[in-house]
């Protein structure tokens, strides 16, 4: 599902930050196009 895709990561500082999601995707055949960690409220 993620292979070959451009990934947009919308992390949450009170939940799971963008960096943690990025770390899960490291080395996979995909491209993180944008990653941020915001307050969702």
């Amino acid at each position: 599902m993620l292979e070959g895709k451009k990934i947009i990561i919308l992390g949450d500082r009170d939940g799971i930050p963008g960096g943690a999601i990025e770390a899960c995707l490291a080395g996979k055949p995909l491209e993180v196009a944008f990653s941020t960690t915001a307050c969702f409220v």
Binding site: K6, L10, C24
Partner: protein
């Protein structure tokens, strides 16, 4: 959803095409995560940002959803997500985001 991020997501969808994008969420609760999913699928429900009236139709999943989890090495997942998985309302988040996707993403 943050107004700057709405602009950024819109620009990326135009640049790469919606069929090439997957959005991954890390929201702390079901309601907020569902709102973000709704925004990138059907447009900004708050009528405030660049995605107002812009149904991008981007597939949005929470990192806690099984479809995403099974694509990640279990040890890597545990190391990066495991701690928060214990404290977040996983069932509620998964239910909300998957239901928004089923309802709005045709």
């Amino acid at each position: 959803m943050d107004l700057e991020n709405q602009k950024r997501v819109k620009a990326l969808a135009e640049q790469f095409g919606k069929e090439n994008i997957v959005v991954l969420l890390g929201g702390a609760d079901a309601e907020a995560s569902g709102l973000i999913a709704e925004t990138v699928i059907a447009g900004d429900p708050a009528y405030a940002g660049a995605l107002t009236g812009v149904p991008l139709g981007l597939p949005a999943y929470h990192i806690l959803e099984p479809e995403i989890r099974r694509e990640i090495d279990p040890a890597v997942y545990e190391a990066n997500i495991g701690m928060m998985e214990m404290v977040l309302p996983v069932e509620d988040i998964v239910k909300e985001v998957s239901s928004i996707r089923q309802k709005l993403l045709s």
